[in-house]
């Protein structure tokens, strides 16, 4: 069973994604901000991270840059989620995929499936 980490400061979003992704057979971990997310990653390495861009304490960009600088975790695929368009996200943020909120769960599942498929 694959493990996904959802990092979002909005509780409703993390709860909804946890429900929806659990229904699809994933183990879902949640975190409220980037700092909390890093801690979770350290405790249990997820197979994929769903990361919100705008969060308090440590935002999505900071978490993404921290992962890119960490040789042990830089290969974890990250899907960045934001209500802002991709063009407004700094170029040094290089997630495996970007989803503009609000998005359909089917789009998310398609991306998750694509990124978790070997090769």
């Amino acid at each position: 069973m694959k493990t996904l980490l959802v990092v979002d400061d909005e509780v409703g979003v993390t709860e909804a994604l946890q429900d929806l992704l659990s229904d699809e057979g994933f183990t879902v971990l949640t975190a409220r901000n980037g700092k909390d997310g890093l801690k979770r990653i350290g405790e249990k390495r997820p197979d994929l991270i769903l990361l919100d861009y705008m969060m308090p304490v440590m935002d999505g960009r900071e978490l993404l840059l921290a992962l890119q600088a960490d040789a042990t975790h830089q290969d974890i695929p990250v899907i960045l989620m934001s209500a802002m368009p991709r063009s407004s996200i700094p170029a040094d943020c290089k997630p495996a995929a970007f989803l503009r909120k609000p998005f359909d769960i089917d789009h998310l599942l398609a991306e998750v499936g694509r990124l978790l498929t070997p090769g």
Partner: protein, 498 residues
């Protein structure tokens, strides 16, 4: 390069006539909308009408009831409505009672059921009928808000749009109103001994919309919203063509007086007391209808049969033109009418039939149809501006209450400033006889003959005389002879034996 999936800009059309115009295209997908109104306001009909339209477009609907009313009873009441289509049930439209879930498992259980059912059934529209039951079940306002928030977040990921139906009062504004994406209120207002149904979009996040109240009707076909014309046509639908050609009034002498005819795409008003012949002038104007200039009579008082008879007596064969399809009639008997319904019907007919000549017999009829008379000048301004940009030459009639007075009181204020051309029809008494007089007081961008003219209504139609020089103070309605008529004058009065 990461893979980017941008959010699509999509609407969910309601399919309810007039409502999508009010909403500038429909609801926004993933939005949560509250539909509120007292019992009997039409909420359930509106939600079902939207559901069946959504299904007809390929969508899937989950209609959840939280009321004690059985689905059998609900369906029994919907069956007579033309949009109700049993073939959509249950494949595309599922009715689900969540009353017992709410009773047994509370709000959390209800959210869980809704989330699961929407996902399993791949619903794209969720209706929750009876939100007031949720409100009553919530221990605190915070719990109620949490229910709406959780539902909102869940359905957003599923791409589903939500309608929450509630009979809760509109005032004061509840906290739930701040959470939903839109609020549509239905009301039934008593007006004298009658009533008018009204719809108002009180809030619509992420989109512009037509603000204010809009009348609606419930018929066998469901709900039909009649957007306020002045809101719908805040700006005319196209540029003013500024045409310079002339359009014949159908009366050669009158055309000569106003420089060859009425300016094309202009609006004229014909003021006059009852019996002055206003309709007769209009029939002459419409008798010029042709394939290239189709005509329309939009009337309130005289039936089509009477109009044809009147035209026949004047030697005008409008019946033939009607059969040829170049002359149309819309008649509205003086019963229950809704101002915006009339305006929309008029514009629809004008567009569909490619009308070029329009005669509105009794602009006062609009006034009588207005639930809110203070609207009338805004309504007429919007209508007139739209007709102008559509290139239609329009003639209104407006009845003056007094037959023989010098002090003319216009029945609808502001009409004269809306129109480019004004003609007055008056009765004048002279030597114990009554004469009909015409005068032109305004023609757009044009010189005109401002003299008073006598006219007669004959079996050959209107006969317009030369200048009425033999009388003075005629506009007072109390003309005084000035002496022996001049021999050179060829007016109709000269020919009469006093």
């Amino acid at each position: 390069m990461d893979r980017v999936i941008e959010r699509p800009e999509d609407r969910v059309p309601t399919g309810v006539p007039g409502l999508d115009a009010v909403l500038h295209g429909g609801l926004l997908r993933r939005g949560v909308y509250m539909l509120q109104g007292r019992p009997g306001a039409g909420k359930t009909i509106l939600a079902n009408q939207m559901s069946f339209h959504h299904a007809a477009q390929g969508g899937r609907v989950l209609y959840t009831t939280l009321l004690a009313e059985t689905h059998e009873r609900l369906i029994f009441n919907l069956e007579p409505l033309s949009f109700f289509d049993t073939s959509r049930i249950p494949e595309q439209i599922s009715y689900l009672s969540a009353f017992s879930t709410l009773e047994e498992s509370g709000l959390k259980g209800l959210v869980e059921v809704l989330r699961r059912e929407v996902r399993v059934r791949k619903s794209t529209l969720l209706v929750v009928d009876g939100l007031v039951a949720v409100e009553e079940s919530a221990a605190t306002r915070k719990d109620f808000k949490k229910f709406i928030h959780e539902l909102q977040v869940h359905v957003s990921f599923i791409g589903c749009t939500v309608l929450l139906l509630t009979s809760a009062s509109t005032e004061p504004v509840g906290p739930e109103h701040t959470m939903v994406d839109g609020v549509i209120a239905l009301d039934d207002t008593r007006l004298g001994r009658g009533a008018e149904r009204e719809l108002e979009v009180k809030k619509f996040r992420g989109s512009s919309f037509l603000r204010g109240g809009h009348a609606f009707q419930i018929t066998r076909d469901g709900i039909k919203v009649l957007p306020r014309l002045e809101a719908l046509l805040q700006e005319p639908s196209r540029e003013d063509p500024c045409k310079t050609a002339r359009v014949s009034t159908g009366i050669a002498q009158l055309d000569k007086m106003i420089g060859g005819g009425l300016p094309c795409a202009s609006t004229s008003v014909l003021f006059g007391p009852t019996g002055a012949g206003k309709t007769t002038f209009g029939l002459h104007f419409l008798n010029e209808s042709s394939k290239t200039e189709p005509g329309l009579l939009f009337g309130f008082y005289e039936t089509p049969a009477r109009i044809f008879l009147k035209a026949r007596v004047l030697g005008l064969d409008l019946e033939k033109k009607h059969k040829q399809g170049v002359f149309h009639m819309l008649w509205h008997p003086p019963t229950e009418r809704i101002l915006d319904g009339l305006g929309n019907k008029l514009l629809t007919t004008v567009r569909e039939q490619g009308i070029r000549r329009l005669f509105i017999d009794g602009v006062d009829g609009f006034m009588q149809s207005a639930a809110h008379p203070e609207r009338i000048s805004h309504f007429l301004a919007a209508l007139t501006n739209e007709l102008r940009v559509l290139g239609i030459t329009t003639v209104y009639t407006s009845e003056l209450q007094d037959m023989f007075v010098s002090d003319v009181r216009l029945p609808i204020s502001g009409v004269s400033s809306l129109v480019e051309n004004i003609l007055f029809l008056r009765f004048v008494e002279l030597r114990s006889r009554v004469y009909r007089m015409l005068s032109v007081v305004k023609v757009r961008d044009s010189d005109y003959d401002s003299s008073l003219r006598e006219y007669r209504i004959t079996s050959r139609g209107i006969q317009l005389a030369d200048t009425f020089e033999s009388a003075e103070s005629v506009l007072t309605g109390d003309a005084k002879p000035t002496g022996t008529p001049r021999p050179k004058r060829k007016g109709l009065l000269r020919k009469r034996k006093p």
